[in-house]
């Protein structure tokens, strides 16, 4: 065993750090670090910079612009990006659709869509979830009926993250009601400008507009927009879900959140001393840190195994559960750390242009909202209950 990074890994990390120090716009990292809203333009600006460096889609095969990184390298990259305050790289086109296209798409689909994902021409969103089909994805009802050279799509999708910005959507649709529920599903690419698509915002509990409902009424989709074979969409969907799991544990985000928490706990005073010296608070922070440190090693153990060819199975579920539990605990501690100043919430203060003086400490405003917003972590992307089911099925044989 060897816990340290190798020389080449350290050289790589330094290269990443150097790149971030020089190329990540301070305007953008300030937004991220201060918990401000990011606009479409902010995401695009950063992704363009990464693309110029060739680091936007490191997991893709080299012929399509991938970087051929090892799992450890990907981990280092994510950790450094979070530390530097880079915006998250939106996964819909880059991490979700692309691997499916690369594995199951036609040559034409690949050469058309992949470059446009990289250069930002197409902003993709995901059409998986439906109302009434949360964790039970296979019960989806959105229907695509073949009529000549087209599918006619009718139905409803929900939880479509940043769908308000999207040019395209990849959708799971039902093309058959025969056989098992999983068997009649197909994987379609749909231009968001097609008539019959309506995007309605879903306002979240903190007042934010991040996700959407999508309504499809007689939407005409050319048959060449089908990926792979008709009725085989479930296979591609599952491939998508198990692929690209480097970030499942959310180590980078937890790291950054813990660092931020430590700053807060150093500034907030309790009974005349910094909160971080309060034994109760210090104990909870230390426990979270100990769990996170162990989690880093658990994560890297899984990743290095993945590098040597082992498929990440229920390990992904374990990373998902523990990773989200730790991150939510850190969010909870940050909220507590603020005391009464966790209460005020000024939504406009999340905008870049806002320049009134803050209420309470300047870091206070987004903290409680973050805590509430991140309750989603244990719900979305396969709820932690679903993940426990997967573990007990595969690991315990139950």
């Amino acid at each position: 065993m060897d816990l340290g990074y190798s020389e080449s890994e350290i050289a790589y990390r330094d290269e990443v750090r150097d790149f971030l120090a020089t190329k990540l716009p301070k305007r953008i990292s300030d937004l991220v670090k201060n918990g401000k809203r990011l606009t479409k333009r902010d995401y695009e600006e950063w992704q363009t910079i990464l693309n110029e460096k060739g680091w936007l889609a490191p997991s893709w095969p080299p012929e399509w612009g991938g970087a051929g990184w090892s799992a450890v390298q990907k981990h280092i990259f994510e950790e450094e990006c979070c530390r530097a305050g880079a915006p998250r790289i939106l996964p819909f086109g880059l991490g979700m659709l692309a691997p499916v296209l690369i594995k199951f798409g036609t040559e034409q689909q690949k050469s058309h869509y992949l470059p446009r994902i990289l250069d930002g021409t197409d902003w993709w969103c995901q059409g998986y979830s439906e109302p009434g089909a949360g964790s039970d994805l296979a019960s989806l009802k959105t229907k695509a009926e073949r009529q000549g050279d087209h599918y006619i799509v009718n139905g409803q999708k929900t939880w479509t993250t940043l769908g308000q910005y999207a040019d395209w959507i990849f959708c799971l649709v039902r093309t058959s009601n025969e056989g098992k529920r999983q068997e009649g599903i197909s994987f379609l690419l749909i231009d968001m400008k097609t008539p019959g698509i309506e995007v309605r915002p879903i306002i979240l509990l903190d007042g934010e507009h991040e996700v959407n409902e999508l309504f499809f009424t007689d939407v005409k989709v050319p048959v060449e927009n089908l990926v792979g074979e008709e009725n085989m969409g479930w296979t591609y969907a599952k491939y998508l879900l198990t692929h690209e799991r480097t970030g499942t544990a959310g180590i980078g985000f937890s790291n950054a959140a813990l660092e931020h928490l430590k700053t807060i706990a150093s500034t907030q005073m309790k009974s005349g001393r910094p909160l971080k010296q309060d034994p109760y608070f210090a104990a909870r922070m230390a426990k979270a840190e100990i769990d996170l440190e162990a989690m880093k090693t658990t994560n890297l153990r899984v990743l290095t195994q993945a590098d040597s060819g082992a498929a990440p199975g229920p390990e992904s579920s374990m990373l998902k559960i523990k990773g989200t539990v730790i991150r939510q605990e850190i969010n909870d501690l940050a909220r507590r750390a603020l005391g009464p100043y966790a209460l005020p919430f000024v939504s406009e203060a999340l905008d870049e242009g806002y320049n009134e003086s803050p209420i309470g400490p300047d870091y206070a405003n987004p903290i409680a909202a973050d805590y509430f917003n991140n309750r989603k972590l244990s719900i979305f992307a396969g709820s932690n209950e679903i993940q426990r089911g997967i573990i007990s099925k595969t690991k315990l044989g139950l």
């Binding site: 979830s129 009434g132 949360g134 964790s135 039970d136 019960s139 929900t158 939880w159 879903i202 306002i203 979240l204 509990l205 903190d206 007042g207 907030q268 005073m269 309790k270 009974s271 005349g272 309060d278 109760y280 608070f281 909870d332 909220r335 507590r336 603020l338 005391g339 009464p340 100043y341 966790a342 209460l343 005020p344 919430f345 000024v346 209420i359 309470g360 409680a368 909202a369 805590y371 509430f372 917003n373 309750r375 989603k376 244990s378 719900i379 979305f380 709820s383 932690n384 209950e385 426990r388």
Partner: protein
């Protein structure tokens, strides 16, 4: 030993519950909360007319209640409807102080004419009631107050503020704190109003040489401030209990209707067992509040110990209940549209009022 409410309180509880069911659906509540003043002046008047404000005051000062039981009954119902009108500030906090030092104002409060907020905590005080840096000095007959008061509930709509300020002693001394009445439109009073994340109106209040009237005795307001907070703790814990009851009911209801994998999710044993634990914690929460309410009129150490126990247990149980409500509802609970989200927010944020679980655990140990 008797845990039943007497007839009067049962009627009070039923009346208020029915009134809120008719007049205060969640859509209205959200509307009031997002309106200019963060509450409905008309509803406040209707509550007054119904006698709800008066139920928080003792007969000696013109009310018809004021006991721990009354606080429990009223605030549990207010919590069930997430009522945003300024009961905590004008009723529980200021009401306690007025009852002790200036009963002349109470008539106006009970009738709904006057709203009064307690401006006590400060940016550096966290939950320490003795931490006061605001200062007051005498100028002839009058007093002049200076300071910055933080997260003052109901300040935006208050006609008057009760302001704590130091007349002697060091920043964290219990001795040397006095209370003052300050007109909301007095000179040098500046408000930074906002809504809390769970939808209640509050403000930071800056006082610059504001004229003020001394309430009660100089230098010795601490014990009264502590009493006001003890009563506010019973009130806010009861409010939390009411909100938790509804969050629990909504979750149980959802478990009966929402299907996944072809069955209602209530059939999943893990959810059943977690809800069984929620029920247990809910009963424990109620018991701890009964204890605190029952000892409100007892001697100080016993009263404070039971209040700290209740606030600690309510905070712990509340977090569990709110987080389970969200998790079991799933994604829908993350939305503004689902009313369970507003209940969950309020339950969680109550831990930031009048001392959180840690604060009161520590205090309980000190008082043991």
């Amino acid at each position: 030993m008797n845990f039943d409410l007497n007839e009067d309180r049962r009627i009070l509880s039923d009346t208020l519950e029915k009134f809120l069911r008719d007049k205060y659906p969640i859509e209205k509540r959200l509307e009031y909360s997002q309106s200019e003043h963060g509450f409905s002046a008309q509803m406040w008047q209707e509550f007054a007319d119904l006698g709800i404000i008066g139920a928080l005051f003792s007969e000696e000062v013109g009310g018809f209640g004021g006991h721990g039981d009354d606080l429990m009954v009223v605030f549990e119902q207010l919590g069930k409807a997430l009522v945003v009108e300024p009961f905590l500030s004008t009723g529980a906090l200021s009401g306690t102080i007025l009852s002790a030092v200036d009963s002349d104002l109470i008539e106006g409060v009970i009738s709904g004419q006057t709203q009064i907020s307690l401006a006590h905590s400060e940016p550096g005080s966290r939950y320490d009631l003795a931490y006061v840096t605001s200062s007051a000095r005498q100028q002839g007959e009058e007093w002049i107050v200076n300071g910055h008061k933080s997260v003052v509930l109901g300040a935006g709509s208050a006609d008057k503020l009760i302001v704590s300020a130091r007349t002697s002693g060091a920043v964290e001394d219990e001795h040397g704190i006095s209370l003052f009445l300050v007109d909301a439109i007095a000179s040098g009073v500046e408000l930074r109003s906002y809504s809390t994340i769970d939808g209640y109106g509050a403000a930071d209040v800056m006082l610059t040489n504001s004229p003020a009237k001394l309430l009660g005795e100089k230098d010795s307001a601490f014990s009264l401030i502590e009493l006001a907070h003890a009563r506010a703790i019973v009130a806010v814990c009861s409010q939390c209990l009411g909100a938790c009851e509804i969050a629990k009911d909504m979750t149980v209801e959802y478990m009966h209707t929402r299907k996944q994998f072809g069955v209602i999710i209530g059939k999943f044993q893990v959810l059943q067992h977690r809800m069984a634990d929620v029920l247990i914690e809910l009963e424990q929460m109620r018991s701890s509040i009964i204890n605190a309410a029952g000892f409100l009129d007892d001697h100080r150490d016993l009263r404070e110990k039971h209040c700290s126990a209740a606030k600690n247990l309510t905070g712990r149980a509340g977090r569990q209940i709110a987080e389970e409500a969200i998790q079991i509802h799933g994604g829908i609970a993350m939305t503004w549209e689902a009313s369970v989200s507003h209940y969950a927010k309020h339950i969680i944020m109550i831990d930031h009022l009048f001392g959180d679980t840690d604060h009161h655990l520590e205090r309980y140990i000190e008082l043991s």
